[in-house]
């Protein structure tokens, strides 16, 4: 489709530059490449449409992490919900506890929450985004070994579960691809094993799922409902699921929308 060297080379080099500096100005790129600002502007718009960078006023900014270029539209759609869930989940954590946090978008949101606070936690995770989110806090951070999965931004595999098995936590927060009366489901086999280990190695386990996960039957059953102690979600689960949850003695926390003075609100409005 595209075989022209000119434009493609510019695009490639623009992206390359953005790996080193988070922001480039249109004017700079234009003089550098010897083309008009209009051309660069068009380049940036094109790359932005492809989701490879974000536009800014005078230029472009790099997408955070080389991670998750192909974010599901479904994921995108539930940003607010997942923030609300993270907000509610953060209340379940008490100072000084040992907390295991699964890899995932909702759990990463939770980590941001916990990272801003000042509780002296010990956090064990297999996800770098989670570690990064908590980096500035006072918490102690233990990262798992394993094969790095760029898409998930975390490590998985036998090494990961073996390592996790050495620890014992007060709380574990896990995510999932689906939640049915049968139990918790996930699409990723390696991730499923990690989740099972997290459940096994913690006193209490909370599942963080938004409503789109309700009644989703996917590849693999991670664990039955009875394996977890509570779920944190954004909407009340449907009747049949609610019955199963009650029978399995799983408490249900439904998160309200984040408050207006919340810093995350700003992000939403900006986006």
């Amino acid at each position: 489709m595209t075989r022209k060297p000119r434009k493609d080379e510019r695009h490639a080099r623009i992206l390359e530059v953005l790996r080193y500096t988070p922001h480039v100005r249109i004017a700079t790129l234009a003089t550098r490449f010897g083309v008009t600002t209009e051309t660069i502007r068009r380049d940036l718009d094109a790359l932005s449409d492809q989701g490879l960078l974000d536009r800014a006023h005078g230029g472009a900014v790099a997408r955070p992490m080389g991670i998750q270029p192909p974010i599901d539209e479904r994921e995108q759609a539930t940003v607010d919900e997942r923030r609300a869930i993270a907000h509610a989940a953060a209340r379940l954590v008490e100072p000084g506890q040992v907390v295991m946090i699964d890899a995932g978008s909702t759990t990463t949101q939770l980590a941001w929450r916990l990272g801003t606070g000042d509780r002296a936690l010990t956090v064990i995770t297999n996800s770098y985004p989670v570690a990064s989110a908590m980096a500035s806090s006072t918490s102690r951070l233990i990262l798992c070994p394993g094969d790095f999965n760029a898409r998930e931004g975390g490590v998985f595999g036998q090494d990961t579960t073996d390592y996790l098995a050495r620890f014992h936590a007060n709380l574990a927060f896990i995510g999932a691809s689906g939640l049915t009366g049968e139990g918790i489901l996930d699409v990723n086999r390696d991730a499923a094993w990690v989740k099972r280990t997290l459940i096994a190695r913690s006193e209490r386990t909370y599942l963080l799922v938004d409503h789109t996960k309700f009644a989703q039957t996917v590849l693999e059953l991670v664990a039955p409902l009875s394996a977890i102690d509570g779920i944190v979600t954004d909407r009340p689960p449907p009747e049949s699921l609610a019955r199963h949850l009650q029978r399995a003695d799983v408490t249900v926390h439904v998160a309200g929308p984040v408050t207006a003075d919340d810093p995350q609100r700003l992000t939403e409005e900006i986006a």
Copy 2:
């Protein structure tokens, strides 16, 4: 010193926002906080001076990673040199090899290099910046466990070295705080142990150091010169050090400046 809530709160919230989105516009922040754009502009300038964010034309962009807020001025000063070193070191890697990469700024530069290429490497590292840099490549990535050190952006400790000891690599690239006739030195005890393990578990070890590390005697001796096979640096080492290196049979690679058509050049000019 600062007890006023007004300004400080804005600053904190601006930084918070930048954790979620890579870019904010001045106008957006102004309307959000109910203050003038001038005020936000000053906020941004102040935060920029503190190195907490980068200014852009219409706003600000987040510093890449929550990592290394306090970068040494010395580190800052030798950016070009370290890029050149990374450029030269990347030539030492052949497709298909198993490569261990130490945590550090120079080694992270190397990872960027290797990440852009298409050699199918297996990379073992204790540094997330390294992993992140390579994420988009075809390489397999194995991350070590351990205590996460936000300042270094990597994991260290007994867990880390134990884990590393299970592997065997063709090449290892390590950094250091100092290099003298006596050997390789480092300020961080945990990091020193990791480096020793990297050396022990690889067929060949290259030390990546810029000229400011020459003749720097710091806390701990990591290993004698004879432990490594080569160094990659930006300037020829001083006479006495050169003699020691030759006696220890250490090859010296002196990197030239990066070529003009190199994508990184652009970054430098922008900065």
